[in-house]
């Protein structure tokens, strides 16, 4: 039987990068085909080519044995290809119905929308595939899991039978992910075929029928879960044996550095995001905060670093009350912050690397004398830090925006770690980085801890939390539902806690 979809020798070059290098891929009818690879391996590029968002430099696409040209998403949709993007493509101020029918609207005469007819179709689909949604609801009012269902319904509404899911579990708890996998199974049973993009080994082993591994734009191998092991897949992904464990000494606990008590913080829409949280971080330990994205971790970090006002409760840093302190005061007390969104918060992309390296200290000697900046001193420091932290940049005067993601993160790490600090707040410090950079940054964080710094680590990557943390606090719906010693925690257990299962039942 001819494969439902076949990609032959797809090649895509970006300036300076070979994103896809003669990639071949075939998808059989009714299978879930996992496309596994690190960040930057070229998975998303390949799928964007399939969906007509990019044009390939070389290569051909066949659907059911017939060659097709995909110049735009419309061509892909016409060929029965549908895609759920990593970042949802939903319009918050539109209803579910409007989002689903957009581009393929049900209309009456003169292009007048027939919302009722479309809603009926959606109900039909949602019953058939067990995807419960309310067609009249506005997207902005729906939780993430439901939004993802809407995305899937969008594809089914267009009668797509080749579904591409790009990192669909990034925003889900392990339990929600399992729910998604059930849906994927039932879709496949009803004759759909799925390409499932991920970098998480567990998911691949759980759900895929076949696995293709990409590395640096090339297919490095194809296998099935039965033949493969996690270790083998990891090696294929990274290109060398990966030590999933980090060498770690037992912590030498010091006095409490950060004390958070009954903290309540609102989010941007004035809803309670952090709901009465209390914890302490001691010198020389790493406290990891685990949780699914959007359970208040972002707001917690922002409150601790002075970027969001505190509604109730108190925060103390080194015996000083910083509940109402400005970010600058907190920084000067010896706190460092690796922000969650490095391009948004951590860097000024249009500024030089040198300027970014003094972003928090530019007003202090030796970088400034009075109000006058001292260019030489800034440049001198920049040179030293570039060397010490191995930042790959042509010159300190290169703009930060032209560096790679890993090097951008190194600029932030260099800036924050080079100061004499007592507290390190690291939020998603390795998101989107390649394995080499991840290892490097983990090493640096452990060094800080061993030198007596208190570390508050927030990450939605469970592996990262488990590897680094001395204690793990699980956040769910704005509360810390459990604090457990790092060595006792297991992934499954944490997953249950993250999904809101009470500690007694989970344990």
């Amino acid at each position: 039987m001819a494969p439902v979809l076949e990609l032959r020798s797809i090649t895509k070059r970006f300036p300076g990068v070979l994103a896809n290098d003669h990639i071949d891929l075939s998808l059989q009818e009714g299978e879930i085909h996992a496309l596994l690879g690190e960040n930057g391996a070229g998975k998303t590029t390949l799928m964007n080519i399939l969906y007509g968002l990019y044009q390939p430099d070389e290569g051909e696409i066949f659907v059911r044995g017939k060659r097709i040209e995909v110049h735009s998403p419309s061509d892909a949709i016409a060929a029965g290809i549908g895609m759920v993007h990593q970042h949802f493509m939903l319009i918050p101020v539109f209803t579910v119905t409007e989002n689903v029918m957009l581009g393929e609207e049900a209309t009456r005469v003169a292009g007048i929308l027939d919302r009722a007819a479309a809603a009926a179709r959606i109900r039909e689909i949602s019953e058939q595939f067990h995807l419960a949604v309310e067609p009249e609801a506005y997207i902005k009012d729906l939780p993430v899991g439901v939004q993802q269902r809407v995305e899937i319904i969008k594809l089914l509404y267009r009668q797509a039978d080749i579904l591409v899911l790009d990192e669909p579990t990034a925003v889900l708890t392990p339990q929600e992910a399992d729910e998604l996998f059930k849906i994927m199974r039932s879709l496949v049973e009803r004759g759909k075929s799925i390409i499932f993009i991920t970098h998480k080994l567990r998911e691949v082993m759980d759900v895929a029928d076949r696995i293709t591994v990409l590395r640096r734009g090339k297919v490095v191998g194809s296998t099935t879960p039965r033949e493969a092991t996690r270790e083998k897949l990891a090696e294929m992904m990274v290109g060398r044996a990966v030590n999933l464990e980090v060498a770690k000494h037992p912590p030498k606990l010091g006095e409490p550095v950060l004390e958070v008590k009954d903290l309540v913080v609102l989010d941007e829409r004035n809803q309670i995001a952090v709901d009465g949280v209390s914890f302490e971080v001691h010198a020389g330990e790493i406290l990891g905060i685990a949780g699914v994205q959007g359970n208040g971790q972002t707001e917690l970090v922002k409150a601790v670093t002075g970027l969001r006002p505190v509604m109730e409760g108190s925060i103390r840093l080194l015996e000083e009350d910083i509940t109402r302190a400005t970010p600058r005061r907190i920084t000067e007390l010896g706190s460092a912050h690796v922000p969650e969104d490095r391009q948004q918060d951590g860097l000024v992309l249009s500024f030089t690397v040198a300027d970014n390296l003094v972003l928090c200290t530019y007003y202090q000697p030796p970088y400034a004398r009075g109000v006058v900046l001292q260019g030489q001193a800034i440049l001198q420091t920049a040179r030293e830090l570039i060397q010490e932290f191995d930042i790959r940049t042509p010159s300190p005067l290169t703009s930060a925006g032209s560096l790679s993601g890993g090097n951008q993160q190194k600029v932030i790490v260099a800036r924050e770690f080079s100061r004499p600090i007592r507290l390190l707040v690291a939020a998603q410090p390795t998101r989107g980085l390649d394995v080499g950079s991840i290892e490097y940054i983990h090493q640096r964080i452990l060094e800080k801890r061993d030198s007596g710094c208190a570390v508050l680590l927030v990450s939605s990557e469970l592996d990262e939390i488990l590897e680094l943390s001395d204690r793990i606090a699980v956040m769910y719906r704005g509360k810390i539902v459990a604090v457990i010693p790092g060595e006792k925690a297991s992934k499954e257990w944490l997953g249950l806690l993250m999904a809101g299962v009470p500690l007694e039942q989970a344990g």
């Binding site: 493509m89 609207e105 939780p143 993430v144 704005g478």
Partner: protein, 421 residues
Amino acid sequence: MTTTALRRQVEIVSPTRQRVMGIVFLVFGFAIWLIFARQTGADQVTTFALTPGGSEVVLPDWRVPSAAALYALAMVSVVLGGVQLARGFGRWTNLVLGLVAGIFIFGFLVWAAADKSLNLGGLMNTTLVKAVPLTLGAMSGVLCERAGVVNIAIEGMMLSGAMMGALVGSVTGSLWLGLLAAVAAGALLALVHAVLSITYMTDQIVSGTVINIFATGMTSYISSKFLQVYQNLNNPGIFQPWPVPGLSRIPLIGPILFNHNLFVYATFFFLILLHVALFYTRWGLRLRSVGEHPKAADTLGINVFRTRYMAVILGGMMAGFGGGYFTLGSVGRFDEVMTAGRGFISLAAMIFGNWTPFGSFGAGLLFGFADSMASKLAILQVKIPSEFMLMAPYIATMIVLAGVVGRAQMPAADGLPYEKE
């Protein structure tokens, strides 16, 4: 990505805002009492004429005892303010605010025309007429911005429309061809705006500024080179009023709404058309999707560039049409810089009207009212400089933008160029 369901809801109406609003109502009430009522003699009577000039249907005048009416109005305002402070009107607050503002304006009229006669019918009539170019301009803005392209070039497009309308109308001797030229001029500048801001991804404000400078320079250039030299090139005549048979004979409403020229009726028509098209058709859904989340629209096979081009060019045509009003619907001649910033007030009206056609019309009426009142003030010999009346729309827009009356709901991708990777 939303996380609403994960979060505890808290009361959204902030107590500060409730208090501010209450104080605002009180201030309005006391202003009526202290400024208007106390200056009004007990036996004074305000006369409102209800028949616009030149109307065939005559209604009797409406006579109001000034002082009594003002005290009553002040009372109502103060009571509303008290209630607001005490327990708040919650989600009705904005409606009450509108009511109080209306009371204040009415109080102002009663006071200004105490012992005199004010032609309320005429006032409404001029308000509507003055609202016409503003509403057309604002609808131009709605079209562009709903598709995600900021248009601060309404002024320039209107000015060019006015000039081309006068020129072509005079040369061809046909008002209709003049109107067509006005629309075409707007469309042409809009095309430039589209090329710059959509294709070349120039900052949309910069692109709009380019068009404004260009239009001002070009129309003045042609005006002083030709229109002022050859008078017969600048004499297109105007569309004459056409009373709607039957409807125009309805008392009060008839002469106000149904005794106008083409432009007023066209405004009504476009209002309804645009409202329906934006919110009830496939065309509108796609246009709005491009203004909210162009990438999402793109992944569903909607051509973002084409949709934006279409919206901007239609917007330009609307502005050109509005520009035609000045020469072909009102003055009958082109003067340099004759739009005098009305394009920018249109922009304000669009924001005031929350990016909707009918909202814009409402704002246009409000601004038109301020404008007509300014000229009435001198006649009534009120000691308020008319300039302050003319400032009101601008200040009101700034207050709206500051979020005092709730957040404006602009399209999410407004002003952002769309870059296809």
